[in-house]
């Protein structure tokens, strides 16, 4: 056991926020030390209830989280919030604008808020988000709320790192076709229609309930709320708590899918460079470039040759490509 990692882990367990925050950064940056701490903490985690919030940008995810965290906090629960925003493809930078919405949550004792950039990871979260959840869990948080990037259909990963997922809609969601295209109806253990203070919201809520009813046999609970006015949030909290036990039963399945996702990612990252340096790759690439073979067949052929040769063994494991 690494003594420094052990010490950092102990400080997190004793409630040291500065160390917790530092270790989350280490995990984000892929530092060895961070993963050592995480592996020490991991057996002590699992106590927190993890709530994921998804929905289009501007739907009111942050505003709902603010209200929800406040309510949970008032009932004596310790809250962790992880707000994920996109990384700019061009500059690799990010702007975090969620934090300034958490005005009432901020006033509650024991709230820890962390912004994270997705850094190119797929599925609407950052790769380090699960690690951050573990750190906050070990820090003693009872409820961990994760706000996803908010791009619809591709937000599958939020499922893997949450016990329950809330999808947020607004009365200006457009029409049924738009919803089908966005793929937003396929996800969500709980559906929320926010901004019910807007004109014709009731009508749009009825439409949305009808669409969901058509698509799904057992439609998820539907909650109308206004984060602006603070209405409907108590009901949301009640529903989340009601479903909690049933949802916790799915953790084993979710962690399996998460592990597979990480393995795929590690594998491809470790191998990509090796493949490029392989003379056989250049051969087959040339055949593709000169139009002799299509890239689908080429990839299948290349991988089957690789496995046949036992060449995989030569491909060294690499963390940093």
């Amino acid at each position: 056991m690494d003594p420094k990692a052990q010490e950092l882990a102990e400080r997190i367990i004793s409630g040291d926020e500065t160390v917790a925050a530092r270790v989350i950064s280490m995990i984000e940056d892929g530092e060895e030390e961070g993963f050592l701490v995480l592996s020490t903490l991991y057996p002590r985690t699992g106590g927190a209830f993890k709530i994921g919030i998804t929905g289009s940008p501007g739907a009111g995810k942050s505003s709902i989280i603010d209200r929800l965290a406040y309510l949970y906090g008032k009932s004596g629960k310790k809250i962790g919030i992880i707000a994920i925003d996109p990384t700019s493809v061009k500059s690799k930078g990010a702007f975090f604008g969620d934090r300034l919405r958490f005005k009432s949550a901020e006033k509650v004792e024991g709230v820890f808020i962390r912004s994270m950039a997705h850094r190119g990871f797929s599925g609407g979260i950052s790769k380090a988000a699960f690690g951050a959840e573990c750190v906050l869990d070990a820090l003693g948080k009872d409820i961990i709320i994760v706000e996803s990037v908010g791009v619809g259909q591709t937000e599958l990963s939020i499922y893997l790192i949450s016990d329950i997922v809330v999808t947020v809609f607004t009365p200006d969601f457009g029409d049924e076709i738009q919803l089908m295209k966005a793929g937003l109806l396929e996800i969500g253990d709980v559906v929320v229609m926010n901004k019910m203070d807007m004109p014709n919201a009731e009508e749009k809520a009825k439409d949305l309930i009808a669409y969901i009813g058509d698509l799904k046999k057992d439609a998820p609970p539907f909650i109308k709320c206004s984060a602006k006015k603070g209405e409907g949030i108590e009901l949301l909290l009640e529903v989340l708590e009601e479903k909690r036990r049933e949802k916790l039963g799915m953790r084993r399945e979710k962690v399996k899918a998460l592990l597979l996702t990480f393995i795929k990612e590690e594998l491809s990252r470790g191998i990509e460079k090796m493949v490029e340096e392989d003379p056989k790759f250049n051969e087959i690439l040339h055949s593709v470039q000169s139009g002799k073979i299509d890239p689908y067949s080429a990839s299948v052929h290349f991988v089957s040759e690789l496995l046949k040769d036992g060449k995989m063994e030569d491909y060294k494991w690499r963390r940093k490509g």
């Binding site: 500065t18 950064s25 892929g30 500059s91 930078g93 975090f96 901020e106 962390r114 912004s115």
Partner: protein, 132 residues
């Protein structure tokens, strides 16, 4: 994908409601490849320090147009020391008379950038301060 990024908190302390400069700086730093947290308006120094801890930023940038830059910065520097996070680099921008720059630097501020500073200078200064 996994590599060290510079993370910055752009904070607006006190009652000052001028947020244009803060937003301009925040977006420019993002374009320069940094991860930028914006505090929003009207934050207390305690709130700002708390944010800097939880976000684990490398740099805290105060944007102050109210004329209260001396007491606000002094309070920030004291709080950072109290919390044991003096390693965070502090920058100050906004309406800052040039006669005050020396005093701010004596308090431990890395760089002071009054209105009219080219943004590239700010980016260079932040990158250099995090490296050392």
């Amino acid at each position: 994908m996994e590599e060290k990024r510079i993370k910055v908190l752009i904070a607006k302390p006190g009652l000052d409601g001028h947020d244009r400069g803060a937003k301009v700086i925040a977006l420019a730093l993002k374009e320069a490849g940094m991860e930028v947290v914006y505090s929003g308006l009207h934050k207390t120094i305690d709130q700002i320090v708390n944010m800097a801890i939880q976000e684990d930023v490398d740099v805290i940038g105060l944007s102050i147009m109210s004329g209260a830059h001396i007491p606000l910065t002094r309070k920030l520097m004291e709080k950072l020391k109290e919390k044991g996070i003096q390693d965070k680099k502090v920058f100050v921008g906004g309406v800052i008379p040039s006669k005050d720059i020396k005093l701010l630097k004596e308090m431990g501020v890395e760089g002071v950038f009054p209105g009219g500073t080219p943004i590239d200078d700010v980016i260079e200064a932040i990158k250099a301060s995090v490296k050392k």
